[in-house]
Assembly symmetry: C2
Homo-oligomer: 534 residues x 2
């Protein structure tokens, strides 16, 4: 009855997105070669072979058109997209599945599903594309009943306003679908989180996702004009406005609420004309901190480049093929209306003033053909490494690889970086040993500070992934909080960052959020335990 | 014991800011000539001559160093800066003065003042520069006791971070003082609300003020890095961060809370290097809507001009001396690092494509001398008209003049403008008659819509100002809400916009704000009746 058969239970997206046996075997061979320890990809269990707790609910007859307790649907909605969850999935461990999954096709069905849950004290998990990497989609152990509400059938563009450049999207529309539809009008949302192919507008708004732009407008908030959300106490709808002088914002209260206040049904997001003028440059630095100083100088000019991402020498080598221990700064400008040569020349001049190396002919400018400029050389190599996230490829090989993110004001950089590398490095050495790596890039930058993004990886004994990950993540959170940063910059809070986030924010803010939640969700049905401690 | 003697009770700012008798007489003569009705400036009462309700409080001995119930202090803190309030003031009507005024010099004194109020169920009115034009500073009639807490003695810059470009300001520092101090470091906040000379950092943050930049970063929110605020339940302090991925923002919950949650003690705001490259242009349009289409085209390019303000023909004539029924578009660019000729040329080309008229030599570019480019011609004339607000000059002359603001998406413009002019125009005709004027300019613009700012004025019978103003304001609010706009874009909500704002926002949002307020202010001491209905 549903499209959910197509959804994969062990990688991001649908069954067709699953890595093939060949790809998994190649990854295993590479890991074996790197570590000297022979590993093989574990078998993927069939859905039939997985043992699952029976549903604790009986779906009312009136809801059976769009609510199911079928095993496949419950299995494919048990986990989000974090690698430890997917690891549990390929091991057939589904201890806390939802008791049913609802696929409303309309606001009327959405209302009926929520009403059923609220009346019967059923925990509700709002579900977009399922790529949450912060444990935002799990059924709490102490929930008596739980239903996941998957918005995938509410996936239309309801309206496009070409004059104001905005569109009204249903929450369940996926990134590629919406871009394909907007393209026919010469428009684009240009919001590309790394999960783009497998995540939805509703998920982006609910998790305050960070997207394409490395400077200026970095988060989805900057594109939200209004939101329509169903809460247990009724509809919550803000007015489409380009700006407002009122105090706390009705939208900003919902953006990033991670399904704890209601289920986003649709929202108006700001669009733009598709860029036709582009310019990009990859600038090398012998010294990582010379490079980050160049980033500071460029972002503080307010040229607002679309891309201004620097990779440390480890990432420059592994992701972009840069040799000789050099950092790589990727600068990109784009516009639908204005030639961009002037902008890139200004930015490159600043980079060179800080020791950046680039030949004039390596500055790629396309003034009007509409073709992308960032597809060749090291810039293109990095782009390909970024876009092709495949969450399932390394599962079960003992390859522990994860990222953590932060943001910090410039005055504390580079000391902050040294602290993080020292403290997390010590933990990596203790738990993984010599083969572990730790690297950094900036995903977004602001005039007052960067958003550094750290990647760690290493080979660990199979079966010890969870314990070792936990030790490293705790070390990272502690180091970040102690050094003055934030434990989340664009991955949201979920359950993973909840306690560490509590230590970095005003003490009473949790009480305020709980008070807000009680107002819209007095029964506490919605995603309990996410964002704030209950 | 205080500096409050220097504060004026009938205009914005201090006694030295009061318009002279000569200035008031000239205004009266101009009004008489314009209307044919002879008017004279009414006498300003002396403080001694004003009869004031005795204070209902006894200031505890331990607080007398910084809390006073002196008549002058109570009179100068009875009203905000709206012209109807100042009109009451020059008529000696002070029905609801605070019972005492506190001038804490330190956080310790601030704590003591608030504790006294909370313990004794005293209403607390946080007070910055007193320029609120939305009735945000008044003592509610049903408060048994009320104390105004004036932050003017907490007026230091606590720290300047030149690397990240940010500074930690105490809430009571005034605009000109902070700019003078930052100038010595080559830095600037560049936040110039029209109240700039007489308003404070704390006031800007508490009211979500709109400032210098007409595009991109228009409101103070964009400059707030962190806030330290004292609430009845203790200190609320956010972490200095350039960005964060967490949900509802601790800062965004406080910005624009208008003194209902706590008293802002200090905050970190983002700064920038002082601009040295500037370019400006005044472009004329025969047709107002051709001009606004040019604005849309320019703002949608994301060139991010610092200034992009268009005046309709009425305002272009009255404020900038433009003759012949033409609209005036003022375009300005600025940068500390990048020559701006390229930017202004792009913007002017777009304006010309839409029928804009400007000679090449009228495009003023200063590439590096640091001197301003917007001080001559019609652009400079407008600037001078904007900066010199003097709230007291026309008081008591029967000159009713006020503004109302909004924001609306482009798809509804120009129909929106026509609706507002028709409906408010009809009300003006009914209550004022033929001499009334209604005009419009854009104060800020966004890719998805403008923030139109309307000015109305006319001569009314002395004594009928309040009733006529109320009829016009109600018509304006109704027209705006019905036509899909917002009743506040940068003047805040206060008591003036509270009911109309309620009609434009999600129904449950008021409950959410009340729940937030109860968390931080369980006794309801802080500025009751402002922002939300209690």
């Amino acid at each position: 009855m549903t499209n959910a058969e197509r959804r994969s239970f062990w990688t991001w997206g649908h069954v067709s997105d699953e890595p093939t046996d060949e790809v998994r075997l190649a990854a295993a061979k590479a890991a074996s070669k790197r570590t000297g320890i022979e590993v093989l990809p574990p078998p993927i269990p069939s859905i039939d072979s997985i043992s699952l707790r029976p549903s604790r609910l009986t779906v009312p007859t009136s809801l059976r058109d769009f609510v199911t307790d079928a095993k496949t649907d419950r299995i494919t909605h048990t986990y989000g997209g974090h690698s430890l969850e997917l690891l549990r999935a390929i091991r057939g461990q589904f201890d806390e599945p939802p008791d049913a999954v609802a696929y409303p096709e309309s606001e009327d069905q959405l209302e009926k599903a929520l009403e059923w849950c609220v009346t019967n004290k059923i925990t509700v998990i709002p579900y977009g594309g399922g790529t949450s990497v912060v444990w935002g989609l799990n059924v709490p152990r102490d929930s008596e009943y739980a239903v996941t509400i998957d918005l995938e059938r509410m996936n239309q563009i309801l309206d496009i306003d070409e004059v104001s450049r905005a569109a009204n999207f249903q929450a369940g529309i996926y990134g590629p679908d919406l871009e394909a539809k907007l393209k026919t009008k010469g428009l684009t949302l240009r919001h590309y989180p790394q999960s783009f192919p497998w995540s939805t507008v509703g998920g982006w708004v609910a998790t305050r996702s960070g997207g394409h732009y490395a400077t200026n407008h970095t988060h989805i908030d900057d594109f939200v004009e209004s939101i329509r959300m169903l809460s247990p106490t009724g509809w919550y709808e803000s007015r489409r406005l380009p700006g407002s002088g009122a105090g706390p914002s009705p939208d900003r209260m919902v953006i990033g609420s991670e399904g704890t206040l209601g289920i986003i049904s649709s929202c108006w997001l700001r669009l733009q004309k598709r860029p036709t003028y582009r310019a990009s440059a990859g600038v090398l630095f012998r010294d990582w901190y010379d490079g980050t100083e160049a980033v500071r100088a460029i972002v503080q000019t307010k040229l607002h480049p679309a891309n201004l991402r620097i990779l440390d020498p480890v990432e420059a080598q592994s992701a972009a093929g840069v040799t000789g221990s050099k950092a790589l700064l990727i600068i990109g400008f784009e516009s639908a209306d204005i030639p961009q040569r002037y902008f890139i020349e200004q930015a490159v001049a600043i980079a060179r003033d800080h020791g950046g190396m680039i030949d004039d002919q390596a500055i790629v400018v396309d003034d009007g053909s509409g073709s992308a400029t960032g597809r060749g050389g090291s810039v293109g190599a990095w782009r390909n490494a970024f876009i092709g996230v495949n969450a399932g490829t390394h599962l079960g090989l003992g390859v522990l690889s994860d990222t953590f993110e932060t943001a910090i004001t410039w005055d504390r950089w580079p000391n902050f970086d040294e602290t993080i590398r020292t403290r997390v490095g010590a933990q990596l050495k203790e738990t993984i040993g010599q083969g572990a790596t730790l690297s950094c890039r900036f995903t977004h930058v602001y005039p007052d500070g960067p958003a550094p993004y750290y990647t760690f990886s290493g080979q660990v004994p199979i079966g010890e992934e969870h314990a070792i990950w936990h030790a490293i993540k705790t070390a990272a959170n502690d180091a970040i909080v102690d050094a003055g940063g934030t434990v989340t910059h664009h991955h949201a809070v979920g359950r993973m960052h909840r306690n560490a986030w509590e230590r970095q924010r005003p003490e009473r803010f949790g009480d305020m959020l709980r008070a807000v939640k009680r107002t819209l969700d007095p029964g506490g049905n919605l995603n309990p335990g996410v964002l704030v401690n209950p």
